[in-house]
């Protein structure tokens, strides 16, 4: 079982946290901080495993992490997971992010943490590995994004439909847009 998945940057700022066990928000932050302290003081060319010890329940657990440029990807797992397997999984995760965001960088994770969560949900579910095949993951993510887009289109079409049928409203709308534009304009002047 995977107990937690954390992503934070070189300064310990969390970029994603996913706990598969219940912890209060304070404890979560504490775990993130402690993990960061443990991981950040390690050299580049040491092994990627750390015995978590007291961190998340019991000595059975291990921290398995990888460091990419400005980000740490940390998985906290118990003894039923293969260490090298999880390292591969982190690699798959990062490659998938790279594919979905096209040259992923920290900023992508900062501004689209929800998307990162969605990608992660296709790989790991409730602490268990769901899918390791990157193409399969990307396919599912794309399909869901498409579904989302179609819903947006649908909503827009309903809106425009309503507008067409109510002339007054469309006038109103134009007015509003106009005033909105003037706001923008004045903002630009300032």
């Amino acid at each position: 079982m995977i107990k937690a998945i954390l992503i934070f940057n070189n300064h310990g700022k969390p970029r994603l946290s996913k706990f598969y066990q219940r912890y209060s928000e304070d404890t979560q932050q504490q775990i993130i901080r402690e993990t960061f302290h443990l991981v950040s003081k390690r050299d580049e060319n040491v092994c990627n495993f750390l015995e978590g010890g007291l961190l998340i329940g019991g000595s059975d657990n291990k921290l398995i992490y990888r460091h990419y440029a400005t980000l740490y990807f940390v998985f906290c797992v118990d003894s039923s997971e293969s260490e090298l397997g999880i390292l591969d999984l982190i690699q798959v995760f990062v490659e998938t992010l790279d594919k979905c965001f096209e040259n992923v960088c920290e900023l992508d994770l900062i501004f689209h943490v929800d998307k990162v969560h969605n990608i992660l949900a296709e790989m790991v579910m409730g602490g268990m590995v769901l899918e390791t095949n990157m193409n399969e993951i990307v396919t599912q993510i794309d399909a869901q994004n498409k579904l989302e887009k179609s819903e947006v289109r649908l909503r827009d079409s309903i809106m425009s439909f309503n507008l067409k049928h109510d002339h007054n409203i469309s006038m109103m709308c134009n007015l509003c847009c106009l005033s909105f534009n003037t706001i923008l304009y004045t903002a630009a002047c300032l």
Partner: protein
């Protein structure tokens, strides 16, 4: 309306979205908290709006804030609102937020049950997927129980995407609701051979997790896994399976033998390091399980060790780490083969990587011998000095102690050296393990008599330098050693040379800054010390000196009397009075020393920590028996008088047990252990030493012998353990020389009177004689107590509940609860009633749980008994598989066998189950009538609950179908609302609508849900529903009532309110539609009085209501059609104007079919009847017409179904 919408959308332009929030936080680095609290206010405003998009946006932002550590549980209800949005975009946001912040304590979580159920059955696979993902994070026992059945259905969904998620989530469901394991297991097993590799991998994953906790229940799956292992190419699956085998082999050594060969092949062939590593690991597990000694196994060991050495020598630190990890497993059983790589391991101890050093440390544990212990520990001590970071240093410290104390100090030849090591360790700053060192000091001082003198001198020095140790009480860990030091000095004060000085040290004012428990020991032991000084002085005749020392005590003790710690205060004031009394006697020149010393006469012997547990309960004493009469059950829980203290207490403890979290328990256990270990007063019932040796036959008593004179007895200043190393070398050298001499002279003289009796000190250990002959007293145990480890099990282990025998055929009562309504449940089993009662207050719920647990245990016992017989059979299968020589063809044959034998058994069980359930129902009926009075109160409360819920219920049931179809995957156009509830009957008072659902787990029952709506302004009560049974269809009535009795509707209806009740019907044949006549009688009550009214109705059981929506794979569908045992029929309907998608949705909805495949305007559909008829449809749409070709096992059923369908379609 539209205006509002536009307005909303324009408002939204000014709302922050997630990106704006993040940007804002980044721009407000200085006053982040303030900015965020401002944002949270905004979010609260947004959540109040009706627009779901605004809400979703707000929830999305909250999810981000949750990551930053803000508690968002206050928005739980809004999150549920967003979860129930019809659009996938919003739904996903809602579920994500829920998965991040919902947990078992979230009270609104029970509101999600219906929503999740709806999403699970959504035709859009991503709705289902997102619900499963969310649920996996916040599933609770209630949710697990309510949804287990729905999830199980999804395990055979047509889409592998859903299947794999459903399979995976089952593990979580099992954890929360262990009863579901057995009913779900057969299907889970099926999934091991799913055509989709993802699903297969998920199933392997789940079974591996289960088997890891309770491996013995999964042994029978070994053949199946073996097949998978030899056939699968997916490394993930292979790793999991191989890991699983690692857990299984200890239980079945023959399995190991079978595994060795394929595993060795894999080791040689695979290029994936991860797989190689796991193979090596499992081979090690196999080798451990096999009793060694077989020649070809030593080859395997060699192979493993050799591969591991390659890993350890690799430049990749990860491999090095894992190599060491695996090596430590071999160490336990084959220490010799690891010891040859000592060089490598010592080298790793110097690695710059902490993880690797830690692993190497573990290995050291097994590598020490008498010869190298000192050397290794010296090396470790150097590391201790160098180490940065307390964790690693603490780890080193515990390792040093572990290594030295392992197997009863087997490798220690010189205890003085060990004591000085311990004393050196006290100089560590900020360690958490002060108590460990203290425990060791106490242990050694008590058990090794010869060392006491030296130990006391060292401890006295510690006490003298106490200010160094206790300089900073914040870093208090280490001051624990003072506890040990004070006790040792007091208890063995006769060995103390400068007792006065030590006593002074103990009386220093600084001592009062120490923690209370240590002060208490100080106070107690200074009296011991005082007593021995007094005796010395009196013997020599120095009366004045004796009085001086008494005066010193009287002067200094008051500082302890003022202590805030009760223990210290009590002891100090007691002792102060005692000493004042002594002083009086001394003034009268009465010799007192003898009497004072008598206070502490007698020797303390070590007692095993488990000793108390082992004291047998005297015959005739029943610890579980009530002392007072238990209060009767009829009283409601809340009214129980609190004065019955023992009951209160029991309940208290019962409550606390599940609530104490693991950590707390561990901490308490730790504290208790520590207390037991440290507390010299822990059952020290000084029995005579003779008896003690009788009790411990393993270790013979060795007379205490004076210490080797080559070792100086006193080391000035703080001791340096290093010098012992040199001394030891010299000593050994001398010994060797002596021996050589002896050999040369060929003297056959025996070694002298001090023969080593102790079996631990064997000659084989490089002939090193210990410096001191040590008397290692084993700890005392009560008579007749057997040493065992069984009591180490943690009773709160959540996985214990999953220890369920899976090979036993499913019993009658074991079913997943199907969605039913309250009243139907009331008729059913008592189990389902429990949670209802539980909702009222927490107390009874727990009680109930406890009760259930007890029942479960009882059942387990029964199962165990049954198992004895069944095990034989099971073993046979496995035996056969394990014993056959492996020509591959024969393997596959035997593998299919165990499965084949279980499958046909099931239908029978189902039938049994049905009968049994009826009986159960009947039993329940009897009971309920007996206990009606008792239940009366509860029922009332329930009813009021029902009323509250009724509105909501109704709302849902009307809306549910409409939305579930709206999310159609097939097309984007919205569908008209549909409801499966149709009108049953109506008059001016009441309107009844009904829906019929098949019961998946009982092939002859259907559940009729009837919604009663009160249309009048009067109050309706005493409603009773009665149906005229036909030969084929009968209403299920409680036992004892005749066929003419009606069933009471379990609620009353105030004006304008509606509520739903369920009635169960049994049917014999389901191939034809049925109509049952019935009557509803009720009393109308209004201001003018009450009248008795009746309403007749006709209940129509259509054939479609016997069908259960069952997903089907297209390949299975094709097979079914090819099989040829289906009858065919077809219809054609003209004048269809609605779109094909609508049409399919209608068939799915009204006739309970599921779409298998759809190509353009042609679709294949599938459904199953409750009695297992397969119904396949091919629906084709022409210009204005639709043709439906059907195939079914039963021609009558098919034609009836098609007729019904024709009617539905012609309405379009």
């Amino acid at each position: 309306m539209a205006l509002k919408m536009v307005k909303g959308s324009i408002d939204r332009m000014f709302d922050k979205n997630l990106q704006d929030l993040v940007r804002g936080i980044r721009n407000h680095k200085e006053d982040e908290a303030k900015y965020i609290s401002h944002c949270i206010d905004e979010i609260k405003q947004e959540l109040k709006q009706d627009n779901i998009a605004v809400k979703a946006n707000a929830v999305c932002k909250l999810t981000y804030l949750q990551m930053l550590g803000y508690d968002i549980s206050w928005a739980a209800f809004n999150i549920i609102e967003v979860m129930s949005a019809s659009k996938f975009t919003f739904k996903r946001i809602g579920y994500l937020a829920a998965s991040q912040c919902f947990h078992e304590g979230t009270d609104v979580i029970m509101l999600t049950t219906n929503q999740i159920r709806k999403d699970l059955s959504s035709p859009n696979q991503y709705d289902t997927g997102v619900a499963l993902t969310g649920l996996s994070c916040f599933v609770t026992p209630d949710l697990a129980r309510d949804l287990a059945n729905d999830i199980m259905t999804l395990m055979s969904h047509t889409k592998p995407y859903i299947r794999k998620k459903a399979v995976l989530i089952m593990y979580k469901v099992f954890l929360k609701y262990p009863e579901s394991l057995r009913p779900a297991f057969p299907r889970l097993k099926e999934k091991l051979e799913d055509p989709d590799p993802g699903v297969q991998s998920a199933a392997v994953n789940v079974i591996c997790e289960l088997a890891r906790r309770n491996p013995k229940n999964y042994l029978s799956l070994a053949p199946l896994f073996f097949k998978l292992m030899t056939s699968s190419t997916n490394n993930w699956v292979l790793i999991k399976i191989i890991k699983l085998f690692g857990a299984l082999t200890p239980l079945e050594p023959r399995l190991g033998k079978k595994l060795i060969e394929p595993l060795t092949n894999l080791i040689h062939s695979t290029s994936a390091m991860s797989l190689l590593y796991e193979c090596v690991n499992t081979v090690i597990a196999v080798l451990i399980s096999l009793s060694s000694g077989m020649p070809n196994h030593s080859a395997s060991i060699q192979l493993c060790v050799q591969k591991l050495r390659i890993l350890i020598e690799d430049s990749d630190q990860n491999l090095k780490y894992l190599g060491l990890l695996a090596m430590s497993k071999i160490l336990k059983t084959h220490p010799k083969s690891v010891q040859s790589h000592k060089d490598l391991i010592l080298q790793c101890l110097d690695d710059k990587d902490e993880s690797i050093r830690l692993r190497a440390l573990d290995l050291l544990y097994g590598m020490v011998s008498k010869k190298n212990l000192m050397e290794i520990v010296k090396k470790l001590m150097i590391h201790v000095d160098k180490a940065e970071g307390t964790t690693y240093r603490d780890e080193l410290l515990t390792k040093i102690i572990d290594i030295c104390s392992q197997s009863n100090y087997q490798y220690i030849t010189n205890f003085e050296w060990y004591i000085s090591i311990l004393v050196e360790l006290t100089r560590l700053e900020g360690t958490r393990h002060g108590h460990l060192i203290a425990a060791q000091m106490l242990d050694v001082a008590i058990r090794v008599k010869a060392i006491r003198k030296f130990a006391v001198s060292q401890m006295a020095m510690l006490l003298d330098n106490a200010h160094l140790i206790a300089s900073n009480t914040q870093r208090n860990g280490i001051c624990e050693v003072l506890y040990a030091a004070a006790w040792i000095c007091g208890e063995f004060s006769e060995h103390l040379e400068e007792s006065n000085q030590t006593l002074e040290a103990m009386l220093r004012p600084k001592v009062t800054t120490l923690p209370g428990h240590i002060q208490a020991v100080y106070v107690q032991n200074m009296v011991k010390l005082y007593a021995s000084i007094l005796q010395q002085k009196e013997q020599v005749g120095e009366k004045e000196a004796a009085q001086e020392i008494t005066q010193l005590m009287i002067d200094r003790l008051p500082q302890f009397v003022q202590s805030a710690d009760l223990e210290v205060q009590e002891r100090a004031s007691c002792i102060l009075q005692l000493i004042k009394y002594i002083q009086k006697l001394q003034i009268k020149e009465v010799p007192v020393a003898e009497e004072v010393i008598a206070l502490f006469a007698g020797e303390l012997n070590p007692v095993a920590p488990k000793a108390q547990k082992k004291v047998p309960v005297p015959e005739g004493l029943d610890l579980d028996a009530w002392i007072n009469e238990p209060p009767s059950d009829s009283e409601s829980e809340d009214e129980k008088p609190k004065t019955i203290f023992h009951d209160e207490e029991q309940r208290h403890s019962r409550h606390r047990q599940p609530e104490i979290d693991e950590e707390e328990l561990a901490r308490r256990r730790e504290v208790r252990k520590q207390e037991q270990a440290n507390n010299p007063f822990y059952i020290k019932s000084s029995p005579s030493p003779q008896k003690q040796y009788q009790d411990t036959p393993g270790v013979e008593h060795i007379p205490v012998v004076q210490i080797d004179l080559s070792v100086p007895l006193k080391v000035p200043g703080m001791p340096m353990s290093d010098q012992y190393v040199k001394l030891e070398e010299e000593r050994r050298h001398k010994q060797k020389l002596e021996k050589d001499k002896k050999k040369k002279k060929q003297k056959k003289e025996k070694k002298g009177k001090h023969r080593r009796h102790n079996s631990l000190h064997t000659e084989s250990d490089e002939d090193i004689a210990p410096a001191q002959h040590v008397d290692i007293i084993t700890e005392e145990m009560p008579e007749n107590a057997l040493p065992s480890d069984e009591d180490d099990k943690d009773p709160n282990d959540p996985y214990k509940a999953l220890d369920i025998d899976l090979d036993k055929p499913l019993a009658d009562s074991e079913k997943l609860p199907v969605q039913r309504h309250r009243n139907a449940e009331n008729l059913k089993s008592p189990d389902t009633e429990a949670p209802l009662v539980g909702k009222k207050s927490k107390k009874p719920k727990k009680k109930e749980k406890k009760h259930k647990e007890k029942e479960r245990e009882k059942e387990k016992k029964k199962e165990r008994e049954k198992k004895v017989t069944e095990e034989g059979k099971k073993e046979e299968d496995l035996d056969f598989w394990l014993s056959t020589a492996p020509p591959p063809s024969s393997i596959t044959q035997t593998q299919s066998e165990p499965e084949g034998s279980t499958v046909p058994a099931e239908p029978e069980e189902n039938e049994d189950a049905k009968k049994e359930e009826q009986e159960e129902d009947n039993d329940e009926g009897k009971k309920s009538s007996k206990h009606r009075k008792k239940k009366h109160k509860k029922e009332k409360e329930e009813k009021s609950k029902d009323k509250k819920k009724s509105k909501k219920k109704h709302h849902h049931s009307e809306e549910e179908p409409a939305e579930s179809v709206q999310n159609g995957t097939l097309d984007d156009e919205p569908l008209p609302p549909m409801s499966s509830y149709c009108l049953l009957a109506e008059n001016s008072y009441v309107k009844m609508t009904y829906d019929i659902q098949g019961n998946l787990q009982n092939d002859s029952q259907v559940t009729v849900s009837v919604i009663f709506e009160n249309k009048s302004t009067s109050f309706l009560k005493s409603m009773e529903l009665n149906v005229l049974d036909s030969l084929n269809a009968k209403m299920l009535r409680p036992e004892g009532s005749s066929v003419h009795d009606g069933i009471p509707v379990p609620f009353q209806l105030p004006p304008g309110i509606s509520n739903e009740a369920q009635f169960v019907f049994t049917l014999q044949s389901i191939v034809m539609a049925q109509k049952l006549k019935g009557t509803l009688s009720f009393i109308v009550k209004n201001d003018e009085g009450s009248t008795h009214e009746k309403l007749d109705f006709k209940l129509h059981f259509s054939c479609a209501s016997y069908l259960i929506t069952t997903p089907c794979y297209s390949d299975a569908f094709a097979k079914l059609l090819e099989s040829g045992d289906l009858h065919m029929s077809s219809i054609k309907v003209d004048g269809i104007s609605i779109s094909f998608q609508h049409l399919l949705a209608k068939i799915c909805f009204y006739h309970h079919f599921s779409v298998v495949e759809r190509v353009d305007s042609c679709a294949s559909m599938y459904s199953r009847s409750i009695q297992g008829h397969h119904v396949c449809l091919l629906v084709k749409k022409g210009e204005n017409s639709v043709s439906v070709d059907g195939k079914c096992n039963d021609p009558t059923l098919l034609s009836n179904l098609l007729d019904e369908m024709k009617e539905t379609l012609s309405k379009c």
